[in-house]
Symmetry: C2
Subunit: 159 residues, 2 copies
Amino acid sequence: MVSIKQLTMKVLTKNTDYAVRALLALAKAKGSYLSAKAIATEHDIPYQFLRRLLQEMIRHNLIISKEGAQGGFMIKKDPDEITVTQLIEIFQGKVQVSECMFRKQICGNRARCVLRHEIMRIENVVQNEFEKVTIGKLLRDLEGTHQAAPSISTPESAE
Amino acid sequence: MVSIKQLTMKVLTKNTDYAVRALLALAKAKGSYLSAKAIATEHDIPYQFLRRLLQEMIRHNLIISKEGAQGGFMIKKDPDEITVTQLIEIFQGKVQVSECMFRKQICGNRARCVLRHEIMRIENVVQNEFEKVTIGKLLRDLEGTHQAAPSISTPESAE
DNA sequence: TTTAACTGATACTATATTGGTATCAATTAA
DNA sequence: TTAATTGATACCAATATAGTATCAGTTAAA
């Protein structure tokens, strides 16, 4: 058996998965510090793995930290402004359908490439779909309140 | 620097990329046999790699082969019926946003999970987009004829 | 002022996936 | 008979993904 395929093509890796969960926990605990250990334990995320993700999120100004005893992490950015697209880009890189498809052989001869256009269109669709999903929305869904975001009406908010 | 991300999140791997190119070549040469070597050379695809992909496509009834000298591969299935979704499923597995996200910790307590629904919605969007793109459509785009498929009218293809 | 609970930073390991190569047997046209 | 070709499969290398370990520095609190 030639294993050229896997079971599923994962769109979200564990990185993003864990990051979303951690952010939901932090969004919920808004205003107080949660330690990496507490988050890891409660949400079943490998501790050291989580810490790397948290550091990365600090670098991207999504959260802040406090060192020392009773320290931990606190959400910084408005949960309604944190999209899954952003998290994917941070942890998995920019969504791209194919790095070179249709560029080399096929489109080499043609100046304007309709295929390239087709592919980019799908890229945008994927990205837009994930942009509709924010941490704020997920949190409300999770808590079953289903109320609209306080100050933002459109899900596609700017940076 | 902690490399927890790559440059880009590839949606199409080389497998699928090469398979599409090979199928385009075979669709173009419809009715005659093309050798793996010829396809590999002309489209800059690693020979042995390509052969594995061709074997896989035979198993999925997309193409047929003829052994021996002057043998090769010929397209079997109607190019308009071969979607990129199918190729992704053959070579990369079924598109799935996340295998476990929101299922374990988060949704453990709640019977009906709105998040799960959200994720599945995106999965469908992605898949539908790729289903719009067939080998037949790509071939016509490639040749610049832009005429509709003989038996199938594609409403979304006119952009 | 010592200690335990923390984060910051980074090195390390294991496994899976992806991309690619090599080999040998069987088939067939010339 | 031979060269071109597929069928089948084993193998290898690079990269990505997932997870672990360690040590230094900071801080609240005993």
